[in-house]
Point group: C3
């Protein structure tokens, strides 16, 4: 009797464990900001993203980093998973604060995934401005992760803003003040088709097409584009519809990391 | 009594779970092609590989992608895991169809592994030709993944063809029509020794030696070579024998992803 | 009654499994060197690192690898996880043996982590010298992994030597014979703050600042510096204190891979 019981429990448990282990190994997405007493610490967010400030960067380091001399204070904002979401969030931050995005660097990361991580530096004359920019960006990241879809085979990303500001300009050379769209498909094979879908869906102006040889060797194809606000949205929605079908066909159900916003 | 039972079951289960978790986290290898209704969808294959076609690439995108104007139709073939296997399969596809390989891009990928992913574009005048090329490549991939050996510490890859065609020429600058061999060892330290083993084992002509600074920052050493058919095979077999011993010493048993063909 | 028991066991087990799965997926760190009969095999070490020798490198490969002609024998030392630790260990090896470090290549690796792997080649006139260098490096690696701290969100690394030798010079252009310090923070956002902390903590001379755009697209910020022995240590200790707080805030407890030595 007891052996049967052991067997029964064993089966139940193994079934449950198998289910758990079969889940796509998505990057860590929800993050409880732990207590950190450092004055430089601002907070953390989805995608193993952290926000920090330095009130007065050491002058030698400042020079080695190639920063503009007029900013002694910097905000630091970057994560393991995501480049587009962090850039879009930084764009909202520069709109809302007296700061400038002085550097955007895109490592090959996503914790074993197919894409980028990010390192974004805000320059400010006052540390309070730098801190405010990082706060805004950290907070907005939950929104900009909304049209990121992930499964074990890859990811899709769609970003939209009605009015691009200076972070988007710096990252993609996009015209300031215009509607801007960004789409990413990984693996890159999927991305190529999404780019074609987007340009055919609406009258948009392609700013750049990126693929593994022009990204940080990510397995992504990327389209950055501007245009009329309605057209940009239409292109994104068309590409998203196709992308979800393709990525699902390859790796099973894929879902938004937070809440879709487009 | 019941506490003893709980303890007993707990021990059994933890043992089983530990075994499961100790298994090398190999990339996803078997793939059920799910239903996808898009006309552009051709199929999926091992290594999170997908095949797609575009009948008539948008002209602006066509230009941004740097494609030859004579091909309006393209086949898209690429995956998260593997570059050599996809290139070899694409080579069979160009032999069998009226297409050309117009682009090969190699992201740093393999889903947390040490190697490349791939993005290969076939150009064709007719979409039916592009589709046929992608079909052939998808189907052949199971074969070309045969001499890929993986464990938790790295991977080995050996590829052979009696007659290289235009995909191999484009990827490795190999002479068309001659026997061609490719070997990959990861981590790169293992690969260096395999390269030496291969060149000493038979009279081959080295086309190129690649290492982390000349790949997409992969942790691989790679040798591409041509020569007499027997010599190329002999070099590969010698390197494979050494490679399996080294990779096993580092990470335990490693086995073929499908069925060895060399 | 038995169903209650099943439920109870199930709960216990799932709790235990959840704990196990919540552990940061650190790279494989302890490694039992398996028997390998190849004469070229020297041994394995932490970080999926392997050591090999070639008594007489094939002359064609030798040339393709760009090695100095005076060394026919090479030692090969490299791993999936770690660049700094392997370089520091190689530095001890060149101090202790009649060899030279002839190549250092740094893939983007760490098995899904944020950093580098490594491929280091020792040149020697005698194979016994090459073997000895690899043995010393393999053995020392356990020490140099001591101030590497890892959790699921990233890693930190601190390296110190009272007297840099030729491996460190080759890797970082550091002055031979002087105290040398190296710090790495991943994600790169954390690294930026650690660099600032270090330069403010003591009178050191910055040799180089590296970030994702100047590494192999790793998600790291890196500072290499020299100076007075006490100052170098002080800078490292200050950065380590800050780094542990930040990385913990982002990803929970992080601990040394072996035993801290600084």
């Amino acid at each position: 009797m007891s052996d049967q019981l052991v067997e029964k429990v064993l089966n139940e448990v193994m079934k449950k464990v198998a289910q758990d282990m079969a889940k796509p190994e998505a990057p860590v997405l929800e993050k409880v900001t732990e207590n950190c007493k450092l004055t430089e610490f601002v907070g953390t967010a989805i995608g193993n993203t952290i926000g920090l400030v330095i009130a007065n960067v050491d002058s030698e380091l400042h020079e080695k980093m190639g920063l503009d001399k007029k900013y002694r204070s910097i905000g630091i904002f970057g994560g393991r998973t995501g480049a587009g979401p962090q850039i879009m969030a930084a764009d909202e931050a520069v709109k809302a604060t007296n700061t400038e995005v002085v550097a955007i660097e895109l490592p090959r990361d996503t914790e074993g995934g197919a894409g980028h991580g990010s390192l974004i530096i805000f320059g400010a004359e006052e540390v309070s401005d730098a801190r405010r920019a990082v706060e805004v960006a950290l907070k907005d990241l939950n929104r900009t992760m909304g049209d990121v879809y992930v499964n074990s085979a890859g990811h899709l990303e769609f970003q939209y803003t009605a009015r691009a500001s200076y972070a988007i300009q710096k990252a993609f050379n996009a015209p300031v003040g215009q509607a801007f769209g960004l789409l990413v498909g990984a693996p890159a094979a999927i991305g190529v088709l999404l780019c074609d879908t987007a340009v055919k869906a609406a009258e948009i102006e392609v700013i750049s097409y990126l693929s593994p040889s022009t990204t940080s060797h990510t397995n992504e194809s990327i389209l950055a584009f501007s245009g009329d606000s309605g057209a940009v949205r239409q292109a994104l929605i068309a590409a998203r519809e196709v992308g979800l079908q393709l990525l699902s066909a390859l790796g099973g159900p894929c879902k938004s990391l937070t809440q879709p916003y487009i």
